[in-house]
Amino acid sequence: MTDATAPDPPSLFERYRVPLGLVVLVLALRPVVSSDLLLGFEAIANRMLILMLFVAAFNLLFGFTGLLSFGHAMFLGFGVYVPAIVVVNGLPGLPPGGSLTFLAGVVLALLAVAVFSYLLARLIVGKGEIYFALLTLAVSQAVYFVALRDPGGLTGGSNGLTRGALPAFVEQSRGHITIHAFGLSVDWYWVVGAVFLVAMVGLWQVLRSPFGRTLVAIRDNEQLARAMGVDTTSYKVWSLTFSGLLAAVAGVLLEINNSGASIENLGVLTSGDTVLMAVLGGINYFFGPIAGTFTWLFAEDFLTDFEVLHLPTAEVSLVSVDLGPAFQFWQFFLGALFVVVVLTAPEEGIWGYVRSLSARVKRRLVER
């Protein structure tokens, strides 16, 4: 996301290109991804949008405030586990499996995560970058092990919560999810898309607000920001709080998407993958996490099923190369790409590269 740094205010299109881009993304993602040319199935589009939101939440804290969290899964976990627990067990006055029960669970989850993030932030935000990262790792590991122990039978331990975790208004048949509400039946993808849009546009607004601008200033030069009168600690605390809240929203969506909660949602792999996706995509940019998540999930699906590469086409095969074994370990290659990005252009990533490429192309066209 660039800001208006030139003296003239930008055009309307310039100003609102992020929300426009988001709308295009939501509308186009599923059709594009489910075409036979690419992945050939729809459900992954849901997962992509949900994780894009999660990684964007992470990047609010990392790319835009400069604080690296190695334990973001714990915030996601609030959104996944709390509604699931509430739906499975019910609340006083609200039966298990009910729609209202679920909504109550969501409210509870968001309140809980907000309080948790805020208090955690107050404790750890002043400790220095590396210690902050280690602390988030340690706290999220602690949360993981607590959930693993299955306190009071609530979390289901290593099995998670898989039965009875979906509220009544969700209908699941043959991998296709439909939401029944207010007399309408809506495809789950559009519900995800709507929540995604609202949340991301909200994030965009936060980032372009005076509050968001100050976060970027803190990231760029905290010492200077403080000397100019910015209370950097409070800004960091609120950034972490918002980030946790947004991550939990993604968690709620994930809970319905996966019909329950799994202990892996709280694990280090989830936290680690988030860092990978964000940096790969480009932490300096609003669309960076989106690009990174797409690349990662696309690779995961596309390359693992990849078996034989036919050249030039599958029908007319002159040369075939058996790439299956190698591409199964796609994480090795993406990991290598990640290391290269970190060493050469740690803040730019894929999206940064795409932007500079298109800037060069634009210049060439103008020169003609």
Binding site: L68, K127, I130, A133, L135, A138, F145, F329, Q331, V342
Partner: protein
């Protein structure tokens, strides 16, 4: 030899002189609880104490390398756990695939890990000297992922464990219980190697020159020290000892692709608790974490026995302990037990 011991005692006394009354009370409480456990369930207690010692020494070996690189060269090496893991895998291959005897594997595998470590240092870590610690953390995190995937490619996704050498099966009697010979062997080897590393760093020109190189690189090079070479050598040393730790562990517990991340986190916990910049701290902290994890269940169960309150015996707390302690340390005293102030803050 006497001078060295008195020196150690004096230094420890001086270091502990700054300890607060709170720590004093905590120590007394811990002593009481441990004493209770030892009396109530002596067999289990000794068993767990040895287990904790073994685990702790492995942690020390793992963390020493990390502490060296972090304290001396300022790089947060997340890939250290991967080196530990490779120690296990190389040992397995040496024994099961190449039929080497255990002792030979114990030499070959760590050296192989050292070579991998040097490769890492030359290709990636060198570019991290002088950058912000976060960049180093991220880059080495990526390296870990690569090594994990490569391990999965070569050795498969499930856990592997070589068979224990004949000579070390069986055990000896120790007080109320039997102690496995392999465990004794592990303690012996790890203590020896830690002592060697310690000596190398503290008492030789080599260690001194690396420390000087970190303080003032230009001057040290001016005086004729080949600094990049020494840094690489230091990294080699750290990798070898981590590999050795992995080698010792794999025989008893096996290894799998998740070992890297599991243990690197523990390594950081130990280094933080012990204090960044202090090798002595890593040793103490490693042992403390090992004992805490193994002895806590016994302490709790005997406490439950004595007081009759069964609820005290909380399961699975052992794994939680290292993290809770690290959190406490970072919040209250970020420089850890013996660390220098201001490092990494």
């Amino acid at each position: 030899m006497n001078d060295a011991t008195t020196g150690l005692v004096r230094r420890t006394r001086r270091r502990l002189a700054g300890v607060s009354p709170v720590a004093g009370v905590a120590t007394v409480v811990a002593a009481v609880l441990l004493g209770n456990a030892a009396v109530q369930e002596p067999g289990l207690f000794i068993d767990q104490a040895i287990g904790g010692l073994v685990y702790g020494m492995i942690l020390v070996m793992l963390s020493l390398g990390l502490a060296l690189v972090l304290g001396l060269m300022g790089v947060v090496n997340f890939a250290h756990g991967a080196l530990f893991m490779l120690g296990g895998y190389f040992t397995y291959s040496a024994m099961e695939t190449f039929g080497l005897p255990f002792v030979a594997a114990l030499v070959v595998a760590p050296i192989a890990v050292g070579i991998v470590g040097v490769g890492m240092e030359v290709v990636v870590l060198r570019r991290l000297y002088g950058t912000t610690p976060i960049i180093g953390l991220l880059a080495t995190f990526g390296l870990t992922l690569m090594v994990e995937e490569a391990a999965r490619f070569v050795w498969g996704a499930s856990g592997l464990q070589p068979s224990k050498p004949e000579v070390l099966t069986g055990g000896t009697d120790l007080l109320v219980t039997r102690v496995g010979s392999y465990r004794l062997f592990t303690v012996f080897v790890s203590a020896l190697s830690v002592a060697v590393v310690y000596y190398l760093i503290k008492n030789t020109d080599f260690g001194l020159s690396v420390r000087a190189g970190v303080q003032d690189g230009e001057m040290t090079e001016f005086v004729g020290v080949n600094l990049p070479l020494r840094f690489t050598a230091m990294f080699f040393l750290g990798s070898v000892i981590a590999g050795l730790g992995g080698a010792l562990r794999v025989v008893e517990f096996g290894v799998d692709p998740g070992t890297a991340e599991e243990f690197v986190i523990l390594a950081f916990v130990v280094v933080v608790i012990g204090g960044v910049g202090s090798l002595f701290g890593s040793v103490v902290a490693g042992l403390l974490v090992g004992w805490a994890q193994f002895l806590l269940p016994v302490v709790l169960s005997s406490l439950a026995l004595v007081t009759g309150v069964a609820a005290i015996e909380v399961e699975g707390v052992g794994r939680l302990i290292p993290f809770l302690v690290m959190i406490a340390v970072l919040l209250v005293r970020p420089r850890g037990l013996f660390g220098e102030e201001g490092l990494l803050e």
